[in-house]
């Protein structure tokens, strides 16, 4: 596959992921019924609990819980397996695999010259399950929560208004610029005859990036003028109108209890 096609594929993957997020966020699921602030605090506390845990069985229990939350939030098992578990396994597996043999300790299995040690097996499993748990939890949160709600939740958790506004604007313009880049690459790919040499393709990538930079700076200028025209004077008011119900308090308690219990048992 040429670099043009693989870059285009990357753009399409990012765009389709955002569409999937909107689709899942609109369905009735367990996370969708909770206040976004409770979701953010609850999921983050479980991720932190996973990092703090030192016992493998407790981390596996957290992984099962994370999978349960994701499935109950209407994330399909197929997309969970394809987008999270396999990707994480491929990346972390490559890093964890040599640790099976490289960590000194008591031998468990001998494959001719290579010896798998008990400590090696444990460290590889710890790493893989920790990363799988955190990735499953964050994917469930991201897919079940519209981005604007996540940002509002971060704002009500005292993240500075400027930072929240910048995150919101960045997210909005990421898709606009992705669309522009996609169109530029597509038009170039449709006009390409034969194979480009290495130097030609590097030159093409750099000039596409340069055009995109000029477009970005123009866009930033236009957005700034539009903000001024609407009365922007450096102050950023954000609407935060979430209300916590009994269900939210109960959800928050369950999340914090589960995280606390995991940390306590898994010390």
């Amino acid at each position: 596959m040429s670099f043009l096609e693989s870059t285009l594929q990357g753009f399409t993957r990012a765009l389709s992921r955002s569409l999937l997020s909107e689709q899942v966020a609109g369905q009735p699921g367990i996370l969708q019924q909770l206040d976004p602030r409770v979701r953010v605090v609850g999921i983050f506390s479980l991720v932190i609990a996973g990092v703090l845990c030192r016992r493998l069985d407790v981390i596996i229990a957290l992984f099962v819980l994370a999978t349960g939350i994701a499935l109950a939030s209407r994330v399909s098992p197929a997309s969970l397996a394809k987008r999270v578990w396999l990707v994480v396994l491929a990346f972390t597996g490559v890093i964890a695999f040599p640790a099976l043999f490289a960590t000194p300790g008591a031998p468990v299995l001998s494959l001719s010259r290579f010896v798998i040690t008990a400590q090696g097996l444990r460290t590889a499993l710890l790493l893989i399950f920790r990363v799988e748990t955190a990735a499953t939890l964050t994917t469930a949160l991201v897919l079940a929560t519209p981005w604007t709600h996540t940002l509002k939740a971060l704002r009500s958790l005292r993240l500075p208004a400027e930072v929240v506004t910048m995150l919101a604007m960045t997210h909005r313009y990421v898709f606009l610029l992705l669309e522009s880049a996609n169109q530029m690459f597509e038009s170039r790919a449709s006009r390409a005859v034969g194979r480009l040499s290495g130097a030609e393709s590097r030159g093409m990538t750099a000039s596409t990036a340069g055009v995109l930079l000029t477009k970005s700076m123009d866009l930033s200028h236009d957005v700034y003028l539009a903000m001024l025209a609407r009365g922007f004077r450096g102050e950023i008011p954000l609407l935060t109108e979430f209300r916590l119900t009994i269900l939210d308090y109960a959800g928050l308690l369950i999340f914090l209890f589960a995280g606390g219990l995991a940390v306590w048992i898994g010390r």
Partner: protein
């Protein structure tokens, strides 16, 4: 180079978050001073641009492809502080929305790629391009070298963070609890890929973009100060500084939380006292030798603190002793700050006689 959750220990994550937070705070203040109200749209759109650039596949010699971070271009156009903010925002969106890089490791990722990368790129670009004309070839070369050095400095910092994990965080049987490889493995494993492919990708995109901008839009290479000199400049109203009383309340709250420190078992790595060498539990967790080095034993007897180990001898309860030590420490610092304030207070000029 995006570290996922679970590779770094909680204490490493907290330390690197604190380091990154101080960088974000300094960057936000400086950028607001230079760019005024333009900060928000400019940094946001540039962050979106950095995000998209990270998705560009760059063809490399040998038929492979790599992707760049875009930190050098951000440094040249926005300056180091603007680059820190925009690359950090792009990394935050990647972690929060696309699951690329962890939430607990976001501080580490921003410190490595946005901060260390930005300053290395800035220093090397300024050094090599010093005095060169905006359209000179030396600037293209400077951008390539700056990109190559920046990405490798970031990779080296990441390798250090990975490599210290097994030595500091393992259980009683020696099983590493987080990233499993020591520095002797982590550094070559990270650096080989970055010294070859990733470094070249960053060098190629940085040099290519600077060469393109020299032909197409020379103004962008002039640096961040030029944006503020436009006719639409609107000064930002000064942000209210937190009142001293609120700060004192926060200090008081932190002081009452100090006994929580007792919950953390063991001695911090590298902070062993001569007695810790005789303590079997500390020895096991830190793999210390059974006898303290002679020099350490001699020097540690040189000065005896009034509250050794934050526990005054006359208090029985360790929690109360901890709290009392905190109150003593805060009181001493408050006293010193009052003395310093009165010392440096500008003396009143004697009134001129009529």
């Amino acid at each position: 180079m995006h570290i996922p959750d679970g590779y770094l220990s909680p204490s490493t994550c907290v330390t690197l978050y604190l380091a990154a937070a101080s960088g974000w705070y300094a960057a936000l203040r400086r950028v607001k001073r230079i760019l005024a109200t333009r900060t928000i749209p400019l940094i946001s759109v540039f962050a979106a641009f950095s995000f998209v650039i990270m998705m560009f596949n760059i063809p490399l010699p040998g038929g492979t492809t790599g992707h760049a971070v875009g930190v050098t271009v951000a440094v040249i156009v926005l300056g180091p502080w603007g680059a820190i903010l925009s690359i950090s925002l792009a990394l935050a969106i990647q972690a929060l929305f696309f699951g690329d890089g962890g939430i607990t490791t976001l501080g580490a990722n921003c410190l490595n790629m946005a901060m260390i990368g930005a300053f290395v790129a800035y220093g090397s670009y300024r050094l090599i391009a010093a005095g060169a004309d905006l359209s000179s070839r030396r600037r293209v070369l400077a951008a390539a070298i700056a990109g190559y050095l920046a990405i490798n400095a970031s990779a080296f910092a990441t390798a250090l963070e990975f490599g210290i994990q097994p030595a500091l965080f393992h259980d009683a049987s020696g099983t590493p609890l987080y990233a499993p490889y020591p520095l002797s493995v982590a550094i070559p494993a990270m650096m080989i890929g970055h010294l070859t492919f990733a470094g070249l990708a960053e060098a190629a995109i940085s040099a290519g973009m600077i060469a393109y901008l020299q032909k197409a839009d020379l103004g962008l290479l002039q640096g961040p100060g030029t944006f503020a000199q436009s006719p639409e400049f609107v000064p930002v109203p000064r942000a209210a500084t937190p009142s001293p009383s609120r700060l004192w309340w926060a200090v008081a709250l932190l002081m009452f939380l100090t006994p929580l420190g007792i919950l953390a078992a063991g001695t911090a790595w590298g902070e062993w006292s001569a007695y810790d060498f005789d303590n079997a539990r500390v020895q096991l967790s830190s793999t210390l030798p059974s006898v303290a080095p002679a020099g350490l034993r001699k020097l540690s007897a040189l000065w005896t603190a009034p509250f050794p180990g934050y526990a005054p001898r006359f208090i029985r309860s360790p929690h109360f002793g901890y709290l009392l030590s905190a109150m003593f420490g805060v009181g001493l610092l408050a006293l010193l700050s009052l003395i310093a304030k009165s010392w440096f207070k500008p003396r009143r000029q004697p009134e001129a006689r009529a």
